[in-house]
């Protein structure tokens, strides 16, 4: 069992990525949530999904954006990459905010 755990930890250690790669991977979820909010917005405007679903989706997306913002702040990735992701994150937040206003 101890050997197996050591092998598992070794494998996990081998999978360590550079700070840039780590941040790029973490930022994947922001891109995914941004696409989700956009798609859900289209469906809400077409009356395919209810408003409460839209609100819950935006809330889930914003929770992910907050986590991503913390990751960017704590990341040791290159400054240009962090700045680029901050801009993309701002755009995603702005898009979610616009939808929130439409929902009111």
């Amino acid at each position: 069992m101890r050997r197996f755990l050591s092998a598992a930890l070794l494998l996990a250690a081998c999978s360590r990525k550079s700070p840039d790669e780590q941040l790029i991977k973490q930022f994947d979820s922001v891109k995914s949530w941004s696409a989700t909010v956009q798609f859900a917005g289209e469906k809400w405007r077409a009356n395919s999904v209810p408003a409460f679903f839209m609100r819950a989706t935006i809330a889930a997306a914003e929770k992910d954006y907050d986590a991503a913002a913390r990751s960017i702040d704590q990341s040791r990735a290159r400054k240009e990459l962090r700045d680029q992701f901050r801009r993309e994150l701002d755009a995603a937040r702005a898009s979610a905010q616009r939808l929130k206003h439409e929902l009111r």
Partner: protein
């Protein structure tokens, strides 16, 4: 005539009962992340589960004993005790994931938070178990479960590229994100070969009073029922691959999966997804809770049977009552239902050797099964299943570190 009806019902049951929260979670993730590239893992798992289901039905038909009962009797209580504990833990996790699925479906329909639904759902499942007979449970949840065929209809209407789907049916190396690819592949296998499935199936065969004449029916039900059932899961992979993947939506939350049917059914798609999820998870929750009671009762030699009045098998009824209460607490505590499901499916894969090996040993006991013991084909399949189970057990934990989302 009676057998023909049972055959039709059995196939229907297998089709309707195949799809559950594990399939919804892993198949939508697979389609959204890797389009059709992981269909092969579903096919592989389906072949394995067909063999396991056929063996457990054959075992029950010949010996008129369910698996835990027979394992305890023939291999000894101490041999069975560790697999029993592991099976109990996995049962509880799967039950919690299924309750999470129903709660999420109700959240989609009503807009109320998931936590609010946890205890009412547990009570609903409990009432269903308390008041119904085995056949009523089996037939109603499975026939209602046919609503999940909407994933197949949606997949066909999307006109998926046939060559890509066929290419995905053969194992291939991942195009990107290898750790996540293998993690989802293992989770799909864990979702399809859920250990509760074949333990439940053998107890169900005993409840239905199968004898040796049911062996051919059992074979047809296992092959056709499980085969068609897996087509629903392939449908979910295809729809997620066509609707979610091109938009860059990766499923890390059920809200993302809930959008997948809205392209093809603009008005009903959202509701169809919610109802499919609710019914599929309800059917599975009832089966898992029953399976847990069966396992306890057969392990400790208690009275058991869903057709008995609860007063005649009080301890049997007490087990599913406590299990439902404990499982609902996962949602009350606010654990994310999708994350719980994915981790549970990976755990299913990890524990596979512990719960399959005792059963596969019994399948070769000629004193017990006589002519119905495993032949060459079944034993080759058995060896392959054991190897696959051991490989899954070894790789599932490191993959959880590296690829688990």
């Amino acid at each position: 005539m009676k057998k023909a009806t049972q055959l039709a019902l059995g196939v229907l049951t297998a089709v309707g009962g195949f799809f559950d929260v594990g399939n919804i979670a892993t198949c939508t993730q697979a389609g959204a992340h890797f389009r059709f590239q992981l269909i092969w893992s579903l096919i592989l798992a389906t072949i394995v589960v067909i063999f396991l289901i056929e063996m457990s039905g054959r075992f029950a038909a010949v010996t008129k004993k369910a698996l835990p009962d027979a394992i305890r009797e023939h291999l000894g209580f101490s041999f069975w005790f560790v697999p029993f504990l592991i099976l109990t833990a996995v049962h509880l996790l799967v039950l919690a994931a299924e309750i999470g699925g129903i709660c999420f479906a109700l959240h989609l329909i009503t807009g109320l938070p998931i936590q609010v639904w946890a205890l009412p759902v547990a009570i609903l499942v409990w009432l269903f178990l308390w008041r119904s007979t085995f056949n009523a449970i089996e037939n109603s949840t499975s026939i209602l479960g046919l609503i999940t065929l909407c994933f197949v209809v949606a997949a066909i209407w999307h006109h998926p590229p046939v060559h890509e789907v066929l290419a995905g049916s053969l194992p291939s190396m991942p195009s990107h994100d290898p750790a996540n690819y293998w993690f989802i592949a293992v989770s799909i296998v864990g979702a399809v070969i859920a250990p509760y499935l074949f333990y439940f199936y053998s107890s169900g065969a005993v409840e239905d009073e199968w004898d040796s004449t049911y062996i051919p029916i059992n074979r047809v039900v296992a092959v056709i029922g499980m085969g068609f059932g897996s087509i629903i899961s392939v449908g979910a992979i295809i729809v997620a691959g066509i609707v979610l993947a091109p938009r860059g939506i990766k499923v890390s939350d059920y809200h993302q999966a809930a959008l997948m049917l809205t392209e093809i059914f603009p008005f009903w798609g959202y509701l169809l997804f919610a109802i499919s999820m609710a019914i599929a998870c309800l059917g599975a929750a009832v089966e898992v809770a029953l399976s847990m009671s069966y396992t306890f009762a057969q392990t400790f030699g208690w009275n058991w049977g869903e057709d008995l009045e609860p007063i005649k098998d009080a301890r049997f009824s007490l087990v599913y009552t406590i299990a439902l209460l404990l499982a609902s607490l996962f949602m009350v505590a606010g654990i994310d239902p999708l994350k719980l499901t994915i981790m549970t499916m990976a755990t299913n894969a990890f524990v596979l050797p512990f719960v399959t090996i005792p059963f596969l040993l019994l399948m070769n006991d000629r004193k017990l099964l006589r002519d119905a013991s495993n032949g060459i084909i079944s034993n080759i399949a058995t060896a392959a299943i054991v190897v696959l189970a051991l490989v899954l057990a070894v790789v599932s934990i490191p993959l959880t570190f590296m690829g688990g989302s």
